[in-house]
């Protein structure tokens, strides 16, 4: 009986951890971002919320809006 309840608690804990990871991943994927590729092969990823990303995201939104007008 005790072993069964311990397993239930463990299962519930694992389930909520997996759910939290899934939600976090989905949130990160849905966040707007800009990726810059340079001639030496380096890559710079700027995510929404960073001061460097915001002006670039603004231009990108304008571009997308112009395409869909």
């Amino acid at each position: 009986m005790r072993a069964r309840s311990a397993l239930t608690v463990l299962g519930a804990a694992l389930g909520s951890a997996a759910g939290a990871i899934f939600l976090r991943r989905r949130t990160v994927r849905r966040r707007e971002r800009v990726e810059l590729y340079f001639d030496d092969g380096s890559l710079l990823a700027l995510t929404q919320g960073s001061p460097e990303a915001e002006p670039l995201l603004l231009h990108a939104r304008e571009l997308l809006a112009a395409a869909r007008d």
Partner: protein, 138 residues
């Protein structure tokens, strides 16, 4: 110009993810587009501003960028003197879109240039006549 338009038509035919595309020069002049002139002008202006803003104050030279937005994605790729900008559906296959855009730009670069006038053949320089050595005694 017709070659550029044909290359863009092929691009949108090949890639189902690309919705609109415009080819422009470094000054923002539209060379070809998949949309009407008015929209192409606005697209080119916005693409150039985005690329310049991303490129300024960088040590390395920017060659391409992509922006993933909620409603779709934006791509800009540059070669020697041209840029191609495209918009796509949300969450596209980034590598594939870059590949298609680069192939399109490369194809434009390979369009045969006007044949250059053949350089005139120069007349062979006259060699100084060689004298046979004559024996001093004869």
């Amino acid at each position: 110009m017709a070659e550029t338009a044909r290359a863009l038509a092929e691009l949108t035919e090949i890639s189902t993810q690309i919705e609109t595309a415009v080819v422009l020069d470094r000054e923002g002049t539209v060379l070809a587009a998949t949309v009407d002139d008015d929209r192409a002008g606005r697209l080119a202006g916005a693409a150039l501003e985005l690329f310049r803003a991303a490129d300024e104050k960088r040590e390395q030279e920017l060659v391409q960028l992509d922006a993933a937005l909620r409603g779709g994605s934006v791509f800009v790729v540059r070669d020697a003197d041209r840029l191609i900008a495209a918009t796509t559906t949300p969450e596209p296959t980034v590598g594939l879109v870059f590949y298609d855009l680069k192939s399109c730009l490369r194809g434009l670069g390979e369009t045969p240039a006007k044949p250059k006038a053949k350089p005139k053949r120069r007349a062979p320089a006259k060699r100084p006549a060689t004298r046979k050595k004559t024996d001093a005694g004869s």
